[in-house]
């Protein structure tokens, strides 16, 4: 806003500025209050979960409820992880997620590098075909998976679960890592090759280290999706290879819900997620909007 150095008008301008400042202040107040209220509304259920996990059963059902922690009861945690086999379920989840992520990230990285750096006939089509497979809904291949796993006796095994997670992870891996490898300047690799580096060497020593942050992000993404997977695990496992999500859902029976260990298990299972996803936020929007946004 311009300032007029005319005696009378200056006063008016200042007053006008005051009003605008006031309006902007009131506007800011509304914005922050609304956002804060929204944040509280979105966070409250999580707080409620954590809080309830530390309540003894009597306190859980009390009306009016306790809004803060009265005392830390670890009964629920003990029941879930010592008495019930939730430690094993979590271990299963961890193994399946880690192994499937390792496989798909490796295979996907190599494939993404191949497509990004080496143009061959049909590479574009192959790339699109791989991406298209991302769209296959899980339910459409679940019945075949079940029948196939049953035939090779991999039902209720960790290996079987890993095997069927991988085809869902590879397209995502290739899609994400393709853009990271594309950003590796070809001059660097060419220079290395001139100096006698092999093609494999160029990949391992030049492209890979440069793209490593992107690969790490991809791996985290894939790990999280495997960690959260429920449907396939529900159908393909029984007790031996049961993963945590299935185990948690199992506490909801037709007759009753065993809330204590349910809360405790949920809290513990969520902790690694919150840790990992704090790395990821920046990259989510970029991927979905087609890479047009920076940071």
């Amino acid at each position: 806003m311009t300032t007029w150095f005319d005696g009378g008008t200056e006063l008016q301008v200042t007053r006008l500025r005051g009003i605008i400042k006031y309006r902007r202040g009131a506007e800011s107040l509304f914005i922050y209050m609304f956002l804060a209220f929204a944040a509280v509304a979105f966070l409250f259920p999580i707080y409620w979960l954590v809080l309830s996990s530390f309540k003894p059963v009597v306190d859980m059902f009390r009306i009016p409820p306790y809004w803060t922690v009265r005392s830390i009861h670890v009964q629920n945690y003990r029941e879930a992880f010592v008495v019930r086999p939730f430690f094993r379920y979590m271990l299963n989840s961890g193994i399946v997620a880690t192994c499937s992520t390792a496989i798909s990230t490796t295979v996907g990285a190599v494939a993404a590098y191949g497509i990004a750096k080496y143009r061959f006939r049909g590479s574009e089509r192959l790339f699109l075909a791989i991406l298209a497979l991302r769209m296959v809904p899980v339910i459409s291949v679940t019945i075949p998976f079940f029948l196939i796993l049953k035939r090779v006796q991999l039902i209720d095994t960790l290996a079987g679960l890993i095997l069927i997670y991988v085809p869902f992870q590879i397209p995502l891996a290739v899609w994400l890592m393709h853009s990271f490898f594309s950003e590796v300047p070809p001059e660097l690799e060419d220079a290395a090759k001139v100096d006698g580096c092999s093609r494999v060497g160029a990949f391992l020593r030049i492209a890979l280290p440069i793209a490593m942050p992107g690969i790490a992000v991809t791996a985290i993404f894939i790990f999280i999706s495997a960690w959260n997977e429920f449907f396939l695990a529900l159908i393909m496992t029984s007790e031996a290879a049961k993963t945590m999500p299935v185990g948690l859902a199992g506490l909801i029976t037709g007759w009753e819900v065993i809330w204590g260990p349910l809360f405790a298990g949920s809290v513990v299972y969520t902790l690694p997620l919150l840790l990992l996803s704090s790395f990821l936020q920046r990259y989510v929007a970029r991927g979905f909007l087609g890479g047009g946004v920076k940071g």
Binding site: I31, P45, Y118, S140, V141, L147, I148, I170, L273, L289
Partner: protein
């Protein structure tokens, strides 16, 4: 010593013979992924299509398998439960996506208007619910919705004076609303993020120019922001619709399709047919129908993305 040198020479000779040119090397790199995907995704998919043409009931081994052509598809489409599930899914999708889009835009507008550390923190906080395992989100809300001892109804009764708050998951009407709220709680942050990114791509000059011309905030929102957000909104609509179509975890945790099948979505019903009633052929047919619906939506998504 001698033996090792021979191996080295043989290895070099082999490499000479196989001297791959660049394009072939690239193909070799893609091969493992392509093979895995073909064997573990394409083959099962084709197997699923072939299963949908068979009558196969695992609970009735005596009947065995028999080719029935497209009658599974006809049975599925004529099946009142399946039709109900399509209706349920459509209601769920429309409801959830509308809520998420509206609140997503609202939150994105608010976050964009003030760029500072406070809003950055608020944005991070708002994204927390999107980080959870879907089944855990369902569990959390099942506890919140619990009729007598749920904290939601306590708040309604004690703070808002509602005399008889609904038994959320026990009545058909409110169960759907309950599920939509859960979906919105989990996914609005994601929509907010996409829309915020879309808004940040709009140059500030446009707003300044409009302000100089005397446009109010509301006008510039409807005439600048929304039109330029078309692509982001379309992406949000498509992605969320596809996801809402595939929803399963929340249904399993909250209602198991009830009460009275009022929340039985297409995926949930197909799950029941395939893995509770063990009708392999019919289940495969239903899952194929779902595949085609998602396939069509994805084609639209790709078209929009590459505009």
């Amino acid at each position: 010593m001698e033996g090792e040198l021979t191996y080295l020479r043989r290895f070099r000779q082999l490499r000479e013979i196989l001297h791959l040119r660049d394009p072939q090397f690239g193909l070799l790199l893609v091969l493992p992924a392509a093979i895995l995907l073909f064997g573990l995704m394409v083959v099962p998919l084709v197997y699923s299509f072939s299963l949908s043409l068979i009558h196969w009931d695992l609970t009735d081994p005596a009947a065995g398998r028999s080719f029935v052509g497209l009658s599974n598809f006809v049975d599925a489409l004529r099946n009142p439960s399946f039709q109900n599930s399509v209706k349920v899914t459509a209601t769920y999708s429309v409801g959830a996506v509308s809520v998420e889009l509206i609140f997503g835009i609202l939150l994105a507008v608010l976050l964009k208007s003030r760029r500072n550390r406070a809003t950055a923190l608020l944005r991070t906080l708002l994204l927390t619910s999107a980080m959870l395992t879907p089944i855990v989100a369902g569990i959390i809300w099942r506890w919140i919705y619990a009729g007598d001892y749920g904290v939601l109804n306590y708040m309604l009764r004690a703070w808002l004076g509602v005399r008889s708050p609904p038994m959320w998951l026990a009545r058909p009407e409110t169960a759907m609303i309950g599920l939509i709220i859960v979906d919105a709680w989990v996914n609005t942050p994601f929509c907010m993020l996409i829309l915020l990114a879309g808004m940040q791509m709009i140059p500030d000059d446009l707003y300044e120019a409009a302000a100089i011309d005397g446009a109010s905030a509301t006008r510039s929102f409807f005439w600048i922001t929304l039109p330029l957000l078309r692509r982001a909104i379309a992406i949000v609509l498509l992605v969320r619709s596809m996801d809402a179509f595939r929803v399963f975890d929340s249904i399993f945790a909250l209602t198991m399709g009830g009460p009275a099948n009022s929340t039985e979505t297409v995926v949930f019903y197909t799950y029941k047919v395939g893995f509770r009633y063990w009708h392999m052929g019919l289940g495969a047919a239903m899952s194929t129908i779902i595949f085609f619906i998602i396939f069509i939506l994805s084609l639209v998504y790709i078209r929009v993305l590459h505009e």
